[in-house]
């Protein structure tokens, strides 16, 4: 069975609380944590709260690690990163990620990598309560041999060989959304990525939102997550910065460019984090 509401939530609703309390109660050292948001709604505020609370030995799962995981990796929060594209979109490398992989700083990390389609289907399997998903992918690539979560599978009807990927079941999924109502029903819209599946695949979940509103309004393209599949909702206005929140804020492309220089140097990175996140 997948997500059961914890016993302390008798009614079908999420608990609305502060971000520090939600992180303290939901995320533990050693957890597998997925913070999703594909190019949009990246949950930076929650990531920074994890950093401030000093979580360690995390397995960080994310299709596109982006700056948010570059920061957590550089601070030494992660033992392992599971991903499909680890770059600074439109800019280049994630230098803290590379420093960890190439030179083991601040400590060596394990990596497990997939294609986007593979990661997507791993979340779909997790959300569906299945141990694996099937896709056309990986065959002939070096990725096939590098991950214990990829295997060939034969169609029982046609004999065709396809690829199976193991389900992702994060201990905690964290996403950012535009709005929640007072029952913790969550609405996100614009590019909705893999967030629905990431929440449904997780054992526990936290959603930061721009605002809690009295009632959610139906909107074109909106994805709704009922409060009874979300554990905690916390207001975090601007919580996707420097990424963006459709209808609320714009992506700070300049910061993505500046991060290249900030993150190239270990000392400068640490000073920046101290000044802007940890302090």
């Amino acid at each position: 069975m997948v997500t059961r509401r914890p016993d302390y939530l008798r009614l079908p609703m999420a608990e609305i609380t502060t971000l520090p309390e939600a992180v303290a109660r939901l995320v533990h050292d050693g957890d597998t944590v997925a913070m999703e948001g594909f190019t949009h709604l990246i949950p930076f505020a929650a990531g920074h709260e994890l950093a401030r609370q000093g979580r360690r030995h995390l397995t960080l799962v994310r299709m596109t690690p982006d700056i948010i995981y570059d920061q957590l990796i550089g601070l030494g929060c992660a033992d392992k990163v599971v991903f499909s594209w680890a770059g600074n979109p439109g800019v280049g490398s994630l230098h803290r990620f590379r420093d960890a992989v190439e030179r083991g700083w601040p400590h060596p990390i394990e990596i497990e990598e997939h294609s986007h389609a593979g990661m997507v289907n791993r979340y779909v399997a997790g959300a569906s309560g299945l141990p694996f998903a099937v896709l056309r992918g990986y065959r002939g690539t070096g990725l096939m041999d590098r991950s214990p979560t990829v295997a060939p599978i034969t169609c029982p009807f046609t004999g065709e060989v396809l690829t199976a990927v193991a389900a992702l079941r994060p201990d905690v999924t964290v996403i950012h959304a535009q709005q929640a109502d007072r029952q913790g029903n969550v609405a996100l819209w614009g590019i909705t990525g893999i967030q629905r599946e990431a929440v449904l695949a997780a054992r526990r979940s936290l959603v930061t939102v721009e605002e809690v509103v009295p009632a959610l309004k139906p909107r074109p393209g909106s994805v709704l997550l009922p409060g009874w599949v979300v554990d905690f909702v916390a207001e975090a206005p601007g919580g996707s910065y420097p990424s963006y929140t459709h209808g609320y804020s714009s992506r700070d492309n300049r910061f993505y460019e500046e991060w290249d220089a900030i993150s190239r140097d270990r000392e400068r990175f640490l000073a920046w984090m101290e000044e802007n996140v940890l302090g």
Partner: protein
């Protein structure tokens, strides 16, 4: 001094490959430039599909990321990632996919994962992203990268995306149903796989480049077409449209 640079030549050459009414899977950077240039010139009905889930996006200027808000706002529909990969890319609904890479080999196989040994990388690259399945499933793949001995290599350090494998029949044996790389566009010229041997053959030089220059920048003994042509230089209209997009 000519009135265009190598990047513009690459974008124009790639754009010309896109037929009106085709469906194109677009990444950021040169692919997005080329696709939007085609849409602004000879292919007004080109359908742009971005892997962030925007189908039929009609941006007025070049988006800075594949998640750019304007893509979602101008799209016919925005779908979640499981749908874009499983319902749209995987079944072969896409006519043309664009791929870049750090390395390409003579069969159009691509590496965007690592330079050096996987476990002790010299340079850790971003990795696969959508590339393996774009390479597998699109009817045609256009590969776009700059020419150098570092990128055109005899042997890839890692196979991220399969082109024509080790030659004829390999794609079918691997169950890859798209056509694979149909063209490689660089800053020096164009290469196409030989229909029989599937090995890349230099078919066009861009204006002002030479065969020696291309072969010098290629890490294997590059074949040259008997009827080697010269790419038409970017027209004033093409350049104007391209620069207008970058405003």
């Amino acid at each position: 001094m000519r009135g265009w640079d190598a990047g513009e030549m690459m974008a124009v050459a790639a754009a010309r490959q896109l037929g009106d009414g085709q469906v194109c899977f677009v990444g950021i950077g040169l692919p997005s430039q080329a696709a939007n240039l085609a849409r602004a010139t000879h292919a007004p009905h080109l359908v742009l599909v971005y892997e962030s889930g925007t189908i039929g996006a009609k941006p007025s200027r070049l988006p800075l990321s594949i998640g750019d808000g304007e893509l979602a706002e101008t799209a016919d529909t925005v779908v979640a990632l499981p749908e874009i990969f499983n319902y749209w890319l995987q079944p072969g609904r896409i006519d043309v996919g664009f791929l870049g890479a750090a390395q390409v080999d003579r069969f159009g196989n691509l590496n965007s994962t690592v330079i050096g040994d996987y476990d002790r990388p010299q340079t850790r690259l971003p990795g696969a992203g959508g590339a393996p399945e774009i390479a597998a499933s699109c009817a045609r793949v256009l590969v776009v990268l700059r020419h150098s001995r570092r990128s055109f290599v005899d042997r890839l350090d890692f196979i991220t995306s399969v082109g024509h494998g080790r030659g004829p029949g390999d794609r079918a044996a691997l169950g890859l149903r798209g056509g694979g790389p149909a063209l490689v566009v660089t800053d020096l010229g164009l290469m196409e796989p030989d229909p029989e041997r599937k090995e890349l053959v230099l078919t066009h030089l861009h204006p002002g480049t030479s065969v020696d220059q291309v072969r010098e920048a290629t890490g294997w003994d590059l074949a040259v077409a008997a009827d080697l042509g010269t790419t038409e230089a970017p027209s004033p209209e093409e350049l104007a449209a391209l620069r207008d997009l970058a405003r």
